[in-house]
C-alpha cells in the first residue's frame, strides 16, 4: 500500500471508512488525488468474523461511552447505547443488512410537500433529485444490488414467505425481497450468498457488500490511497486563512499525530461527525466548525421504528437466510389521510436467540416472556422504517461528564418523539399485526426500537449558511475545503434506509471535488 508522509500537504484526508468515506475515497483516488484515510477501528479480515451474535457485537461495534436522553424508548431501554455503529474498517456496513430503497422525489422537498408542521424543522433539500438519479444507479451497481439492471432477485427465505403472504392478504401489492445489496449470484469478484443468516456479524462469505470487501481494496489497488486503521481523529486544524490544513489523530499507541491536508472529508456517521466538528472549535469558530448558525448537532434523526413479532402454529425458523431480505413499500407514500405526514417501509428482520431475547421485550421477564421465548422457532418479525421529523432540540452534544477511552467528551444524544412519529409508529404497528394475523398468527406483540442503526441530520445541508451546516455539495459553510460525507448531511430523512443515498451523495461530492481541484480551487 502507498504511504504518505505526515507533512505531505497535498493529500485529501478522509475520516471514516464506512460507505460514505470509502465511496468518496475511491472516487478521489481513481481521479488521481492522493488520499489518506483515518479509521478509528481495526482492520478485521472477513475470515476472522465470528458467527455468534454476542462475540461479533463485541468485535465490531462502537462501544465507547455515549448517553441517550429524551422521551425515546432508547433512553430507558439502552441508555448507554443510543446507536448501533460499527468500529472497524468498513464502518457500520459490517453490521448492515442491505436494503437499498431510493428516496422518492417529494422526500427531497418535505417542507413543500408536507407543509408547516409544528415543532418540526422541515426543510427542502437544496438539490435536484434528478441530479442524483445517475448516482443512485451507479451506487446500485457498486453494491451489486439485487433486482436492478438484470441482477436476479433474492430468493424468498422463510421469514419473507410469512411476511409477503401476510402483505398480500391485507391488500398490499408492493412487496419484494429487495432491492438488497448482497450477491444472489457471484458479482464483482465476490460469491453469492449461502443464506447462513449472519449478515450483522460482518458476513464471512463476503456476499454482502461492504467497503471492506469492495471500495477499500479497490482504493488500495489505485496506489493513490493509504488506509490508516486504529487512527482516531480528534481535531481538524485550520490555517490562518480559515482553510482546513490538517487532522490530528491518536494512533494505536495513543500518540498524537497530525496529517497535513489539502482538503478534509469527515464521514464518521451522524454522532461522531458533529462531535469531531464540535471538538475542532477554534478562534473564529468558537462553537465548532460549521456552527456559526447553531445547527451543528441538531435535527438528529434515526427513523421512526419498532418491531412487531408474530408467533404461528407452524415453524418459521427465522434464523435461516438473509436477515432483512423483504420489504413492503405500499405505506412509504405520503398520505395525510392516515393521520401523519411521510411514510414508512415494513421490512423483515430475523434475529438469533440472543438478540431475540434482548430486543423482543427489553427488560421483560417471567412466564409470559419465557412462553414467547419457547415459541422462537415459530416466530417471524418485521421492522418498521419510517420518516421521522427533524426537530432542532433532537441533538448530539458534548457531555460535561462522560469521556471516552481517548479522554474526550463523549457524545450525548437527545431525542424526543414528535407526535407525527408516534402516530406513524402506531399505524405501522397495527399494519404488521394485521399482516401476521392474516397468515394465522396465534400471538402478535410490539417491541420498541433497537439502538439506532440509522443516524442522520446532524450537519444538515442547506443552500443558505444560516439554515444549516453544509452546502449542497456537502462542503462545510465557512470552511471551503472541509466536507461532510455521510448521513449527517441529510436535510430530512425520508422513509428509505439511508445507505444508498449516502453513497450516491458521496459519489456526487467526489465529482464536485475533482472538478474543483481541476479548477485549482482545492
Amino acid at each position: 500500500m502507498r504511504h504518505y508522509e505526515l507533512d505531505d500537504a497535498d493529500v485529501a484526508v478522509v475520516v471514516g471508512s464506512g460507505p460514505g468515506g470509502a465511496s468518496l475515497a475511491l472516487r478521489l483516488a481513481r481521479a488521481g488525488l492522493d488520499v489518506v484515510m483515518l479509521e478509528s477501528g481495526r482492520w478485521i479480515d472477513p475470515e476472522d468474523f465470528v458467527d455468534d451474535e454476542r462475540i461479533a457485537f463485541a468485535q465490531l461495534s462502537w462501544l465507547e461511552a455515549r448517553r441517550a436522553t429524551g422521551s425515546w424508548t432508547l433512553a430507558h431501554d439502552f441508555p448507554a447505547l443510543p446507536a448501533w455503529n460499527g468500529h472497524a474498517v468498513g464502518g457500520t456496513a459490517l453490521l448492515w443488512t442491505g436494503l437499498t430503497p431510493r428516496f422518492k422525489d417529494h422526500e427531497f422537498r418535505t417542507r413543500s410537500s408536507y407543509g408547516e408542521i409544528a415543532g418540526a424543522s422541515l426543510a427542502d433539500w437544496p438539490i435536484d433529485p434528478a441530479e442524483l438519479a445517475p448516482y443512485y444507479a451507479e451506487s446500485e451497481r457498486a453494491m451489486g444490488v439485487s433486482h436492478r439492471e438484470g441482477r436476479p432477485p433474492m430468493p424468498a427465505n422463510t421469514s419473507y414467505r410469512v411476511f409477503a403472504n401476510g402483505a398480500e392478504r391485507v391488500g398490499y401489492r408492493h412487496y419484494a425481497t429487495g432491492p438488497y445489496a448482497t450477491n444472489v449470484e457471484p458479482y464483482d469478484g465476490r460469491p453469492g450468498t449461502i443464506q447462513d443468516g449472519f449478515n450483522s456479524q460482518g458476513d464471512r462469505h463476503r456476499s454482502k457488500w461492504t467497503p471492506l470487501v469492495s471500495e477499500i481494496p479497490k482504493a488500495i489497488a489505485t496506489d493513490r490511497f493509504e488506509l490508516r486503521p486504529e487512527s482516531h481523529a480528534v481535531r481538524i486544524t485550520l490555517d490562518a486563512a480559515g482553510r482546513a490544513d490538517g487532522v490530528e489523530y491518536l494512533d494505536r499507541d495513543g500518540v498524537l499525530r497530525r496529517q497535513r491536508a489539502a482538503l478534509v472529508a469527515v464521514a464518521g456517521n451522524a454522532i461522531e461527525t458533529p462531535r469531531l466538528l464540535l471538538l475542532s472549535a477554534t478562534a473564529g469558530h468558537e462553537h465548532g466548525l460549521g456552527n456559526a448558525s447553531d445547527h451543528l448537532g441538531r435535527h438528529y434523526m434515526r427513523h421512526t421504528t419498532g418491531v412487531v413479532y408474530g408467533q404461528f402454529p407452524d415453524e418459521v425458523h427465522m434464523y435461516r437466510g438473509e436477515n432483512m431480505a423483504g420489504i413492503v413499500a405500499d405505506e412509504s407514500r405520503h398520505d395525510p389521510e392516515r393521520g401523519f405526514a411521510g411514510g414508512y417501509y415494513l421490512e423483515t428482520i430475523s434475529q438469533g436467540l440472543p438478540s431475540f431475547t434482548t430486543f423482543m421485550e427489553p427488560g421483560g421477564w417471567g412466564a409470559d416472556f419465557t412462553a414467547r421465548v419457547e415459541g422462537y422457532p415459530r416466530t417471524a418479525a418485521s421492522w418498521i422504517c419510517g420518516e421521522d421529523l427533524p426537530q432542532p432540540g433532537n441533538r448530539v452534544t458534548l457531555s460535561d461528564e462522560l469521556v471516552d477511552r481517548w479522554g474526550l467528551p463523549a457524545p450525548e444524544v437527545h431525542y424526543d418523539d414528535h407526535p407525527n412519529d408516534v402516530a406513524m409508529r402506531e399505524h405501522a404497528y397495527g399494519r404488521v399485526e394485521a399482516m401476521f394475523r392474516a397468515v394465522g398468527a396465534e400471538r402478535v406483540w410490539r417491541a420498541p426500537a433497537m439502538p439506532s442503526g440509522h443516524n442522520l441530520g446532524t450537519a444538515r445541508m442547506s443552500a443558505d449558511p444560516a439554515d444549516g451546516v453544509v452546502d449542497p455539495e456537502g462542503r462545510v459553510h465557512g470552511v471551503p475545503n472541509l466536507f461532510v460525507s455521510d448521513g449527517s448531511v441529510f436535510t430530512t430523512g425520508a422513509a428509505a434506509n439511508p445507505t444508498l443515498t449516502i453513497m450516491a451523495l458521496s459519489l456526487r461530492q467526489g465529482d464536485r471535488i475533482v472538478d474543483a481541484r481541476r479548477r485549482g480551487e482545492l
Partner: protein
C-alpha cells in the same frame, strides 16, 4: 458461553438463592438446572469485577433469602412475587439483565429452544431449508411491475383493508 463450570465467585448460599431467582425470572420447566447454574456463575463473575456490584448482589441475595426462607424450596409464585416487588431496584435490574444475557447465550439452551447457532461450516441454509415453509404458498419475490402510489391514498382494495380494525395501543399485546 462455555460448558465448563466457571470458578464460583460467590458463596454457595448466595449462588443457590440466585439460582432460585433465575429460575423464577426465566422459568422454562424443560430446561434443567445446569444452564441456570452456569448463568449464575457468570453473573457472579461479572459482579466480582466491581466491589459495588459484589456488595449489591450479596445484599440483594441475602434480602431475598431472608424473605423467602429457603429460596430453593420457595414456590415459583413466592419467588415471582418477591421479584415483582423489587422490580425497580438495582439488584433486580442487574440480576435480570445478566441472567437474560447469559442464559440465552448458553449452547444447551439454544439446543433445547431450537436455535442452531452458526451455520457457515454446514454451508449455511442454501441447501438446508432457508426457503422451506410448507404452510404458505410461494410468494412473488420480484418487485411489482406497476407504479407505486407515492402521494395520497392507495387503490380501493388496500385502502379498505387499511381501514380495518385499529390495533391496540403501543406496547400492548394482542392475542388472536
Amino acid at each position: 458461553m462455555t460448558e465448563d463450570q466457571p470458578a464460583p465467585a460467590v458463596p454457595d448460599a448466595t449462588a443457590s438463592t440466585l439460582l432460585a431467582l433465575a429460575r423464577a425470572l426465566y422459568p422454562h420447566p424443560g430446561i434443567p438446572d445446569g444452564p441456570y447454574e452456569r448463568a449464575v456463575a457468570l453473573l457472579a463473575a461479572d459482579a466480582a469485577a466491581s466491589s459495588e456490584l459484589s456488595a449489591l448482589v450479596a445484599a440483594g441475595a441475602a434480602e431475598a433469602a431472608a424473605a423467602l426462607g429457603d429460596p430453593g424450596a420457595a414456590s415459583l409464585e413466592a419467588r415471582t412475587a418477591w421479584l415483582a416487588a423489587h422490580e425497580g431496584e438495582a439488584f433486580f435490574a442487574f440480576v435480570r439483565e445478566r441472567i437474560c444475557f447469559h442464559l440465552y447465550d448458553d449452547r444447551e439452551v439454544w439446543q433445547l429452544l431450537g436455535y442452531p447457532g452458526p451455520s457457515y461450516a454446514l454451508g449455511g441454509y442454501l441447501h438446508r431449508g432457508f426457503d422451506e415453509l410448507p404452510w404458505l404458498p410461494d410468494p412473488r419475490v420480484e418487485e411489482l411491475d406497476e407504479p407505486l402510489v407515492e402521494l395520497g391514498p392507495l387503490g380501493a382494495s388496500a385502502a379498505s383493508e387499511a381501514a380495518a380494525p385499529a390495533a391496540a395501543s403501543a406496547g400492548a399485546e394482542v392475542t388472536a
